[in-house]
Symmetry: C4
Subunit: 229 residues, 4 copies
């Protein structure tokens, strides 16, 4: 029903933009948290034998046989607190910038049907390039849900207390980063695009404009395109 909102930081940003009602934010976030918790439980069930084989039955947060980072994220040894906060802000800001660009009707938007795989590639790219510092959570629900699961499944309170109570960073930094990315998008891109109601620039005529001038031949074309799937 929500169009696959999976990230509280992204949902908050869309609330700020007025594209999602504020009243829906808390239910969305709780659903996301619940989904992440249930998914962690499923991973634990399917890989229980493998986790026990690897850890020798001792579920820990530190050490060469630690298994907590299968679920929640933890910072690298060399990271300072401020740096890991910045890391999460920048990662989520980049995610939000990319998502907003994809749907901009006045620029060249990505085809609607391809947005899900493109967002998947963006998240994969950010995860691959930015997980070195502190695991690239860039999503409070994806981090807190699994962390709560490990708390209840035998890893103990260390999942919250470790690294000097670091767990709050992937909860607080991503929403800040998402909103900052949204404002950077508005300031540097959105407000420089031509007004869709008064196209005064022929060479930059937006697609959505053209589509609204449907002589009769248009409709046919669209029908073909749309009926091909």
């Amino acid at each position: 029903m929500s169009g696959a909102h999976l990230n509280p930081a992204v949902s908050l940003s869309f609330c700020v933009l007025g594209q999602v009602q504020w009243g829906r934010l808390v239910p969305y976030c709780l659903s996301q948290l619940l989904g992440a918790y249930v998914a962690s439980a499923l991973v634990y069930l399917v890989y229980y034998d493998a986790i026990m084989d690897f850890s020798g039955g001792d579920l820990t947060v530190y050490g060469p046989n630690e298994t907590a980072s299968i679920f929640a994220t933890y910072p690298s040894e060399y990271m300072t607190l401020g740096r890991s906060f910045l890391d999460q802000v920048v990662g989520t800001g980049m995610l939000m910038l990319c998502i907003l660009c994809l749907g901009e009707k006045r620029n060249t938007p990505a085809p609607a049907e391809l947005i899900p795989p493109i967002v998947a590639v963006i998240v994969l790219g950010i995860s691959m390039s930015m997980s070195g510092n502190c695991g690239a959570a860039i999503n409070p629900a994806r981090d807190l849900g699994p962390r709560l699961f490990t708390l209840t499944a035998g890893w103990g309170t260390e999942v919250f207390t470790c690294y000097d109570y670091w767990f709050w960073v992937p909860l607080v930094a991503p929403p800040i980063g998402g909103v900052m990315g949204t404002f950077m998008y508005l300031i540097f891109i959105e407000w420089h695009l031509p007004d869709p109601d008064q196209p005064d620039n022929d060479s930059a005529l937006s697609i959505s404009e053209t589509i609204k001038q449907p002589g009769p031949t248009w409709e046919k074309d669209v029908e073909l395109k749309s009926s091909h799937f």
Copy 2:
């Protein structure tokens, strides 16, 4: 003719949904099994020199030079029976959930021409992420066909008796998982989508609906497409 049904678990799920006739299920499954057997024979012919070079001519199921797992799947040493059954149920259920979402006309469906490569990416993703436990068969034909081939090609009856007659798991678990995934899709997604015959929700007007009204309502469809992320 069948639209490339390659997996008995998927075919069974479509029978349950009423999208494939029950009478076609057995012929489909036998064809899938035959196809997997013939493909295994071709792999064996092309890589005969490499297999003989690697195994030293001794075709075995266990040990560092085993070659049976090139064809059928076998569980990791640490897996218990129930866990490997669960692994196959979850893997096939996820596959079925993804396949059904791709074609849902009342949500944003994937373009029909792109469904084959998208399904290939899904199968690749499940194979890469879930093969650690017991090889990610998630397809009875893909597992039994090659296993029968290795039985007839010199690996002996050990391909069936090994790991305490484990071979029945990838035959029985995937169909159960596929049907469970189908019901989860119906319960959690399908039955919550707006009724296609009585569209009472403008903002969620389905594409298939709009397509049936090909006069001037086109414009709506196009705007719909653009607003679908």
Copy 3:
């Protein structure tokens, strides 16, 4: 002009199908050979320093510092002659089967604009999975052109005489494989598809049929799109 024919085995198959004139086959093949030779020369120029650094200035076909396989393909030590011939026949046959399926108007064809990247992925997939045996040339021009270049650039006649004059295998086997793949496509798929001029099967009504219904201007556009590979 040719629609990017780069492989003599593929061009020959299209001649057999009657989609390319026989008189064009020899000019196409010579162009393909010339292109592969020139591309090899460019690679040699750009990587001259790297090749000299790696080989110590001694350009050889055998040994740990051999550099000949950068250009042409050579079989693995364990391969027998017949097996490597089969390997090339199967690889090229699979390539041809995939290419013909992509453009089949009476099945779900791939979008014409996406055929180039899809063919690139197919060639990449075959190269990755089948190069273990003997380098996955599956293209006489891609193999003979670079081999002729290495002959003239200092590797000597060993590039032709090595492995008991093996060089003829990637020249002769791919065309045979391509034509065999084409006939397998005709026998197992093409001849089972409904006749586009007499649609007698409602549930399997082909896309090209449906497209012909809307109006006269459509057909031109659609046929154009479908004939673009």
Copy 4:
């Protein structure tokens, strides 16, 4: 506003083709340089802890713990000056050839909405296959911006003086390569395509031709699509 011009060598080539006004070239290049400098500063901020941990606080251009090549490009030890110049010319020429083919209306053009990801794959492919020699900058702004950043951030003047003042190669070679690639495209492809105003070749009838027949509204749409990269 510029349609995502990120590379001075590409912008220069489009000026030569008359598709971008010459007066815009210098502002574009300065923006590209500024963008690369700011992006380098952001990378430095986010990875400051990791860089300090790896380098031990000693920011150098040479040696096993060098960190300068995170930002700008440097040649491999074995490269001669002329060879690295050729490497950059060939890499940028290939990039320009690919970009121009994608938008050719008289051949099969790539869909306008997919050009951004396709160009990303091309740049990724060239970076992966050609970075062995000297880092595959193929973009003066992407190289000079980060180099200026490292100069100001503590790596010292060695980033410019190292390898015998090599830094000018990725500044001068890419524009030459881009323009050479453009002329090769014009000579070998563009001038051989049928004249769009006088179609005399039925079997090779170009898409843009056919599209102009249906009705007046078509043309706008197609030109719009084609002009979007």
